[in-house]
Amino acid sequence: MSHRLLFDAGSWEWGLAAAALLVLAGAWWVSRDLPLRLRILRSVVLALLACVLLKPSLDTLEDRSAKPRLAALMDMGPSMRAEDDYGAPRLKRAARWLKENQRALESRADLSLYAASGGARRVSFEELERLAPASASLDPAAAINDLLDSGPPPARVLLLSDGAFEPADSLEPALSRLGVPLDAAGVGPREVRPGLSISAAQAPDFVFQHGRFIISAALEATELPGSIIRARLFKRDKPVGEAEFVVAKPFEVFQASFTAEAESLGRESYRITASAVVSRGPSVEAVRDLQVEVIRQKYRIMYLAGRPSFEYSHLRDHLKSDPNHELVSFVILRNPENYSPVTDNELSLIPFPAQEIFVKDLFQFDLFILENFSYTRFSLPTLYLQNVRRFVAEGGALLLIGGSNAFTKGGYQGTPLEDILPVGLWPDPDDYRPGLFAPVVSAPANPLITLGESPEASSELWRQLPPLDGWVRLASLRPGSSVLLRHPTEKTPAGEPLPVVALREFGKGKVLLVGTDSTWRWKLAGGRDWRLASFYGRFWNRAVEYLTGSLDLKKVKFSPLPDRMPVREPATLTLRVFDEHFRPLPGTEIDLRTFWTPPDGRQRAVASFEREPGLFQIELTDLAEGTHRMRAAARRRGQLWGEDEAEFRWEKPKGEAPLDRKRLKSLAERTGGRYADLDRFDAKTLLASLAPARRERVALSRRAAWASPLWLFALAGVLIFEWLLRRRGGYL
């Protein structure tokens, strides 16, 4: 053991010290009249000051043997999570190999461990056991640069990887900078079999009804060169898209994109299948299921009125005033028997687009309103009404509004339309009766009727309404139909109360019958009684929401979860909260609570954060294998606004990606290193390729003498002693 004195001063500190010595020389000459002892004391002060500026330090040295530095780079990419035919995840196998060979490696080399996903960071052997694969793949160039920047250059690098990374253009400069051999140990399955998997199947969480959207998936083909992969997208067992790919490499990833159209509200299920025929052996297949939540962007409404009326003008005006409604309306302004006092050019009339309404465009709408429209007056073919029936059966909504031409007189008796009505029609064409009546509520709990804040308030509102004018006589109520409002005195031939407003579900759609065309009276009543001011709008809004299915839709919804949650953590779930018009409802207006029940069955509250208004995100970590359940409940204005539940299954990842020996071998050979599978990788061979240890003197410790307060005390002591001498000698 030996010692060494050195000065840590920088250039400006050396300059200051030189300046202090110059001052010392000048002071010696200027104070030549003073006694020598005083001059010596002052010189000592300046010399001490100059010495402190030079930052003197004392090193304790030791002679020892220096081992060559070996850097072990551990691939932490997502594919290292895979379990191969060794029964353990690749990362664990690699870590175990390092641990088993730790003593041997450290006996001959100064070993440094690095974890690499994207770039690299140094880790200890203790951390090594706790490492988990990351979501980012290894970037060899970034990892090598990080390794070189973190300490002395290594003599050799050992990369433990499955080769599941893409070499970037920056790899070559990084290898040049490294300048030492890189050995690669391949971590992966012993044998590679032909395989096909669908990863990263993606679809929007929510799509708008009638909108088109993209569903994409990554197809991973292993050992299938020369094969053709056929990918198909199914919606309820009906193929909606297909794509083919020719495989050229032993391992190749293809991106398949399909365009789908959201047809019906609610959850739509899709299935992606992929298959490839292998020349020798059975074909390989893969399947992924996913779901898409279809929400409404706008209610698309077609409104056909048989003649101009106050019912038409008010209802059209109301529907039109709501930006959520996309309304197309036609009203028959003139009948064939009406005469024209002017030429056609002076009329704003357009031809009645019956073909477009009943055949071409009908199925693009959510709601079809027929108000007081005579079907027979225009001699329309029965096919048109069959289309309306099919429209409802397939999920459309039909609203029939009364009037003297609306039902039997309009020619609907015995037609396909009558079959889907909630009522049987009156046998006689004279089915309309003018006259005032106050309808009676038959179904007070029905959401179309409960328009007040409470059932009592709703009843009071209905009692306050002005009477309606004119009703349609009906023969009977069909089984399964509901009467919401009835005439106070009129009966059907069977003696039942005469329905005024009745509804029925037919097929996937709904039919609402309003047997009067005088609801505009409810609107004007708002001028007489302010409590009724919004009644008309609320009734028709609710009716449209009911008919189009929006009333049944949840206002709080988890985004559809995939059939397999992505293996990375945190697992991310999203939740949307809507208002009554299915616009996003910001978190400031609701009290949202979310709960998670892991497979152990113990429910716990989890936090959510609002990513954008109405869109909330939940992140789950420490996922256990099994079924997880989620529940969300939102309260608005103190009342439950909506709730939703979802569940997903989380499984440990299975090995799918192959070991890319070719890539790793190429990388090693470019640096003069060598490649071997991990189970055949011999640590002794690696160590034999390292240079022998050399003797070198290393500093065990360094003592910064200049930082000691003793310097300060010494300076102060000399100055005080010099002052006392001058006082005693009478030099003050």
């Binding site: 009326s309 106050f310 003139r334 005469y339 003018p434 006259g435 005195t489 007489r528």
Partner: protein
């Protein structure tokens, strides 16, 4: 039992607010404001207008006219009101002004026709003052030539009437659409006939063409009440533009 039930129903209807007792079924009713003074300068003109309406369009109407004051509870069962006169009606009291405001803002439509045939009249001043008091947030403004009132049925290029006082139709908007329409050319006067069916008044200087223009605008106003802004929908525009481009043959 049946008699008892009928009596109960009769009692129930009798107990209904007076406002709900006007019956019209699904037919159009000509409702005219009655006030102290010359509120009805052309007593039979409405029949002529309604006859034209039902002959030319698919609208059905009642022959009987409904006459009511602004204090009449029937006001809020009457979706369209006609007000005309040759002299200024009495100033409205607060109750009448409030009723008029409530009526216009809850969906009612008021058509005012100046029957004086004068460029400056007491009636005109009363109309402007009354509408300003009833709807102080909105101004009476001329309707643009492309306004839907001019194309609800006929494509109107000229404003007719018994006396061509103004070349425009004015309106007061509420929620983006006119709730009061004001014509100054005595449109209703152009309809008036004597018992023998001869027009009572000449339409000068345009003669019968001017009368026809008055009839067309009258019908368009009634159709505006019954169809709203229907003819401003995009689906009609190509047809209307093409007809406007072709002009009157």
């Amino acid at each position: 039992m049946r008699a008892l039930r009928a009596a109960l129903v009769a009692g129930l209807l009798a107990a209904l607010p007076e406002a709900g007792r006007a019956q019209e079924g699904d037919r159009f009713v000509w409702a005219q404001v009655r006030y102290t003074g010359a509120w009805d300068p052309y007593p039979g003109a409405h029949r002529e207008a309604l006859s034209f309406l039902t002959s030319v369009t698919s609208v059905l109407s009642l022959d009987e006219r409904r006459e009511l004051t602004l204090k009449d509870p029937l006001l809020f069962s009457t979706p369209m009101l006609v007000l005309t006169g040759r002299q200024a009606p009495p100033s409205l009291d607060d109750e009448e002004l409030q009723a008029l405001r409530n009526y216009l803002t809850s969906g009612g439509l008021l058509w005012i026709d100046d029957a004086t045939g004068l460029r400056s009249s007491e009636f005109d001043r009363w109309v402007r003052s009354t509408l300003r008091s009833a709807l102080p947030d909105s101004d009476l403004r001329p309707l643009g030539q492309d306004h839907v009132v001019f194309k609800t049925f006929f494509l109107i290029r000229r404003i007719g009437g018994r006396a061509p006082v103004s070349s425009s139709v004015e309106g007061v908007d509420w929620n983006g659409k006119p709730v009061a329409v004001y014509t100054r050319n005595d449109l209703i006067g152009a309809w008036a006939k004597d018992p023998l069916g001869k027009h009572l008044y000449d339409c000068a200087p345009g003669g019968e063409a001017q009368r026809m223009d008055a009839k067309k605008l009258t019908l368009n106003i009634l159709m505006y009440a019954l169809t709203g802004t229907y003819k401003s929908d995009a689906v009609h525009q190509p047809f209307i533009l093409e007809k406007m481009r072709q002009g009157i043959p």
